[in-house]
């Protein structure tokens, strides 16, 4: 099958949606399908051969955080050209409610279109104003996939209609083994975090507060943080005397990310919400890192209600500190959580997930002539 996949977020910046698309694309290619991905990216970036750049994305405030999105007439023209030349059997758009390439693709294309919804919101003002404007683009979507029950609920509440549930996948074998980073754990004293440092919903602030609570009693405790953001801003929120115990890796390569998961005694996911699935969690699970996560519904589900990772009250630094201390003092429990996580994560492996997605493609392409360019509305 010839599949065109549309990514709404900048390819070079690591994120859940980008990683999802990359892994799906690679799993599909491995399965013998032809795949082309269009994504916002600077033209000269070192992209995989299956990615077509759609130009630079612009940072704009959207729905409570700053997103790098591609919009405007120029981006629309690039998507149009890609569709015209691609000759796809099916178009697979990700996050079509985000003002970026996804909604543009729905605008300029006609034919079998599958859309995957990733995000979940409690209540989104942006979405409530967006829904009527999205209507004509969303009406073209023939098959809808939600990556989590929360994402599905968001979709039903904000846009109406329903979707099939196909959870995110993880390439388990990619994370299973890794050499710890030099100078880090696991040695019983390292807590790890991975994600955007400047994105409030990722909850780094909660972890930093908890670290300040734990650090005085635990002179060897260290914090390993990987992800893009302003280092000075992060260090500014740590009491001066503990700053040399915080390691900021910045944006890490895939290889270093795997190594980072293997360098911690407790991997912390303090997200405050808005997370539909937590791809970061399944990666950490594949690496067998003992996990401590906020008890948002998505995390609770992935971690089997605390079987495959410890949970703490969302947004509560004291609760985080308390649970982290318990884990750090209990190597046996850490080992048990690690084993449970490695087991539980197999049902999220990409090979399983990609097969499900192909079934959706087959359903919508039944008796169809493929994707063509649509005349301007």
């Amino acid at each position: 099958m010839n599949v065109g996949i549309v990514c709404p977020y900048t390819w070079e910046v690591p994120g859940g949606v980008q990683a999802h698309i990359r892994d799906l694309a690679e799993a599909l290619i491995e399965d013998g399908h032809k795949v082309s991905v269009i994504a916002p990216a600077a033209d000269d970036a070192g992209l995989p051969s299956y990615v077509t750049p759609a130009g630079r994305a612009v940072p704009v405030p959207y729905n409570g955080s700053v997103a790098r999105l591609a919009f405007g007439f120029l981006s629309a023209n690039r998507v149009r050209k890609w569709i015209r030349e691609g000759g796809f059997d099916v178009l697979h758009v990700h996050e079509p409610a985000v003002p970026s390439l996804g909604v543009l693709a729905c605008w300029v294309a006609r034919g079998p279109i599958v859309a995957t919804f990733h995000a979940s919101y409690e209540r989104s003002r942006a979405m409530s104003v967006a829904a009527p404007m999205l209507q004509s683009a969303l009406e073209k979507i023939t098959g809808r996939i939600a990556v989590s029950e929360a994402a599905r609920k968001t979709l039903v509440e904000h846009l109406g209609g329903d979707a099939v549930l196909i959870p995110n996948g993880v390439t388990v074998r990619r994370y299973a083994e890794g050499e710890p980073l030099p100078g880090w754990g696991p040695d019983g004293d390292v807590i790890g975090f991975l994600g955007r440092m400047d994105e409030p919903r990722k909850g780094l602030a909660v972890l930093l507060e908890a670290f300040a609570l734990l650090a005085p009693e635990r002179p060897r405790l260290r914090l390993l943080i990987a992800g893009p953001g302003d280092p000075d801003d992060v260090l500014g929120r740590v009491p001066r005397e503990y700053r040399d115990r915080v390691g900021l890796l910045g944006m890490v390569s895939e290889a270093d990310k795997v190594r980072a998961y293997h360098s911690v005694d407790v991997f912390c996911a303090p997200n405050l919400g808005g997370e539909s699935f937590g791809i970061v969690l399944t990666e950490a699970m594949s690496a067998g890192a003992p996990i401590l996560a906020s008890d948002i519904p998505a995390f609770r589900r992935v971690l089997d209600d605390g079987q495959a990772g410890a949970l703490f009250t969302t947004g509560d630094p004291a609760a985080l500190a308390r649970e982290a201390a318990r884990l750090l003092d209990d190597p046996e429990r850490r080992a048990k959580l690690s084993d449970e996580a490695r087991q539980a994560v197999w049902k999220y492996d990409w090979s399983t997930v990609a097969r499900e997605v192909v079934r959706v493609y087959e359903t919508v392409t039944h008796a169809s002539a493929g994707v063509v360019e649509d005349a301007l509305p």
Partner: protein, 179 residues
Amino acid sequence: MTTTLILVAAVVVVLFAVYVSWRAGRLDRLHIRLETAQAALDAALLRRAAVCLELAGSRILDPATSLVLAAAAHEARTAGPDEREHAESDLSRTLRAVVDQERFREKLAEHPAGAALLEELDTAVAKVVYSRRFYNNAAAVTRAAQRRWLARTLHLAGHTDPPRFFDIDDEPPESLASG
């Protein structure tokens, strides 16, 4: 001798009373000026959000641009007092990202309704800048007046809190500023 003293004291008391009432009157005028400036600022912000929403709903733009703009304008329009500065700054940033797209002005001008909307947007953006400067000036003067020794001792300002400055990023899009 005593008569002279009493007379002098009386004159001093009268002069002081006149002075106090003059200061109180000035403070009162400053408060009125502040309220007027605040109303103007509020109107300018609402107008800017309204023009953005109209542009977003005009079907002249591509749907992604419309969405970005509509979401930011909606946030700004519905933000509570504590979130307002943040939401309005976000709208300014979004406007810059939208309007500073390559060939945005030309593309909009091709459309019959586009040119008029751009003109309206120009005006709305400029008025936010102006009215915010004027409001902050009024706030600064009022705060200084409220802080003076006499005003504090005699409670001339009553129990009103010192006015807050309205602190936002209202930098207009480049193509508007120069156009």
